[in-house]
Amino acid sequence: MDNDHEIIQKVLAGDYDAFETLVDRYQGRIYRHLRKMVKDQNEVQDLLQETFLSAYKGLAGFSGNSSFATWLFKVANNTALMYLRKKKPELLQHGDDIEKMEQFEFMPASTEFVSTPMDILLSREGRKKIEEALDQLPMVYRTVIVLKDIEGFSLEEVADITDSSIPAVKSRLHRGRNFIRATLGQYYTEKNPTKKHRG
């Protein structure tokens, strides 16, 4: 199978079918990323189409200094941010919300959470709780967690996609992850009250 750069050369030479190969390769990941930024499926669909259309039109400007995935996620991220600034600015107004986030940073860990088997943590209900915890995060934290922990980008790539410094990405990851840890910890502690008073 051709690598992304070889496919891009074919697209730039006028081979449209080659572009569909890129769409097949990345549509799932871009969909997942947009869905974490914008909940409404119709809006996700519009942004998905806009992202790939922008990518197609801007492909000649792709320098190859980063991976194609990083470049494409940056296009998707900027497309969604532009939309949100215009249509739903309230979702972006919290910024870093450091005061709110700091209270979760040193919240004691839950024994019940750590001792719950992985198959229960990843059950239908467990996945719902993970989604809910992620959705409660202010956008700047949610975005770095999605890019780093779910999509597997490096810190440098996340900084590139989000136009942030690496220290800012690290700090947001630290706070965002602790929020998820504390929120899920609280849930599993409350779910298992019989174990609550141990130790």
């Binding site: 996945r127 922990d149 630290h174």
Partner: protein
């Protein structure tokens, strides 16, 4: 939480990402072994990261994928 524990807990996320110098890693690992609350904190942070990685994997609906390709063929082909 003791000041020393707070300082170590601030480094856990970087530790998970392999971002700490070797000497700090050694100090942190020793502390995690000796301090059960911090050890638990590390385990729960690691679990939270693992859950995000494994627990969020929804696929694009087939219909949305079909409509995406139809949209792109209309707007890109021949442009």
């Amino acid at each position: 939480m003791k000041d020393q524990c707070r300082e170590f807990c601030k480094k856990l996320s970087d530790y998970l990402d392999g971002q700490l110098d070797e000497n700090i890693c050694t100090l942190l690992e020793k502390h995690l072994e000796e301090c059960p609350p911090c050890g638990l904190m590390y385990e729960s942070l690691k679990t939270a990261v693992e859950l995000c990685r494994k627990g969020i994997n929804d696929d694009i609906p087939e219909e949305m994928s079909r409509e995406l390709k139809a949209f792109l063929r209309t707007h890109c082909k021949g442009s």
